[in-house]
């Protein structure tokens, strides 16, 4: 490639960048930190829904009463496969279309998820696509994807959608599935929605 092109590119980028002025303020930014959810209502609803489904289907499974432990055990299955960004293909491939009612054990992320790793994940969709709890922090979908009186949009599973969730930064994540859905999740400190019927 010609040196002339590289020189032109450098010069143009430099000139373009220098049009961006120094910000007036040198004060660091402030923003309300995403607070750890004081209640685990949402996870309780997920587990309750899964438990109901387990009873209906006749399957038996055990849920520890301590929510953190429950999250940890569910996550440990996933984290064992979480070696890098490429690992989503294997585990997430279990559900070809990604739609499902209530899984025997909803896939979640480890208590300390790693940025850049795609974790197989069951996104709770029963009340619409509102968000997910990742590593103990509520990540909201903004705006929520809700159809009618609190259902997921057409094409989404109900009560869950299986896919993979990846943290892009400490407070941003993206959920993707094999059906082509892609939802950005933000840890913005918003209140976790109450469980729906």
């Amino acid at each position: 490639m010609s040196d002339d092109l590289e020189r032109r590119l450098r010069d143009s980028l430099r000139a373009y960048a220098e049009l961006v002025d120094a910000p007036d303020s040198t004060a660091p930014p402030t923003r309300a930190s995403a607070q750890p959810a004081p209640l685990r209502r949402w996870r309780g609803a997920v587990l309750a829904a899964a438990a109901v489904a387990a009873v209906i289907t006749g399957s038996v499974w055990f849920v520890d009463g301590h929510e953190a432990d429950t999250a940890g055990s569910a996550a440990s299955d996933v984290s064992a496969t979480a070696g890098g960004p490429d690992n989503d293909a294997g585990a997430a491939a279990e559900a070809q279309d990604g739609t499902m009612a209530a899984p025997d054990e909803a896939l979640s992320v480890p208590a300390s998820p790693v940025v850049g790793v795609a974790y197989p994940f069951d996104l709770y969709t029963h009340c619409g696509i509102r968000g997910a709890e990742l590593g103990g922090v509520w990540f909201a979908v903004d705006p929520p994807l809700v159809e009618g009186a609190g259902n997921p949009p057409a094409g989404w599973g109900n009560q869950y959608q299986r896919g993979a969730v990846t943290l892009l930064t400490a407070d941003e994540a993206v959920f993707r599935d094999d059906a082509g859905h892609e939802v950005v999740l933000l840890a913005d400190g918003s209140a976790r929605p109450a469980p729906c019927d």
Binding site: L9, V20, A22, P23, P113, V114, T169
Partner: protein, 184 residues
């Protein structure tokens, strides 16, 4: 890869640090890096307003986990956060368009700084804007941030071969586009 930059429990997303303060080192980093990062974000988005948001978010994210980040790696962490933030911005606007089918104020482009460039420089920037996102990222990081292939690969979380091929294709496209424009 971000994970390699994190001290302690590698890559863990920590709980928000309630009441965490900006210590002197972080404030110094903010003063030194804000403008370069803002310029990088503008070069990737062409949108000063969105660029400002992306940079602010990067610093807020860093501040939340400042206690777990190696200060020597913090600039790289911020750069990667900005690149990811720009990608998220595009992805989010694409998702919103698919689901909402309406125009939001965010969709209205802000003033184009490039109109202030010389004609030759503006031609290059306009040609750069037509490239696929990854080619543009690689060329900006290579020819403005002056990063090595390995550093670009780490910032974009791609293989070095991808960096090399993206740079090669991007430059070839630029050469063709700029050549075509001269011919007209």
């Amino acid at each position: 890869m971000l994970v390699a930059l994190i001290a302690g429990e590698a890559g863990a997303v920590d709980q928000p640090v309630v009441g965490a303060q900006w210590d002197d080192a972080l404030i110094d980093l903010y003063r030194a890096q804000r403008l370069p990062l803002l310029r990088l974000a503008v070069l990737l988005t062409d949108d000063p307003g969105a660029a400002e948001d992306v940079v602010q978010d990067a610093f807020v994210a860093l501040q939340r986990r400042w206690h777990a980040v190696d200060p020597a790696a913090a600039a790289g962490y911020l750069r990667t956060s900005v690149v990811n933030g720009v990608r998220t911005l595009y992805r989010r606007s694409g998702v919103a368009r698919r689901h909402l089918h309406r125009v939001s104020p965010e969709d209205v482009p802000s003033a184009d700084l490039a109109v202030l460039l010389s004609e030759e420089q503006r031609e290059v920037i306009e040609a750069l804007r037509t490239l696929p996102r990854r080619q543009r990222e690689v060329l900006v990081l290579r020819y403005w941030s002056e990063l090595s292939e390995a550093e670009i690969a780490a910032a974009l979380d791609v293989a070095r071969g991808t960096v090399k091929s993206s740079a090669s294709r991007g430059l070839a496209s630029l050469q063709k586009k700029l050549g075509d424009r001269r011919v007209r």
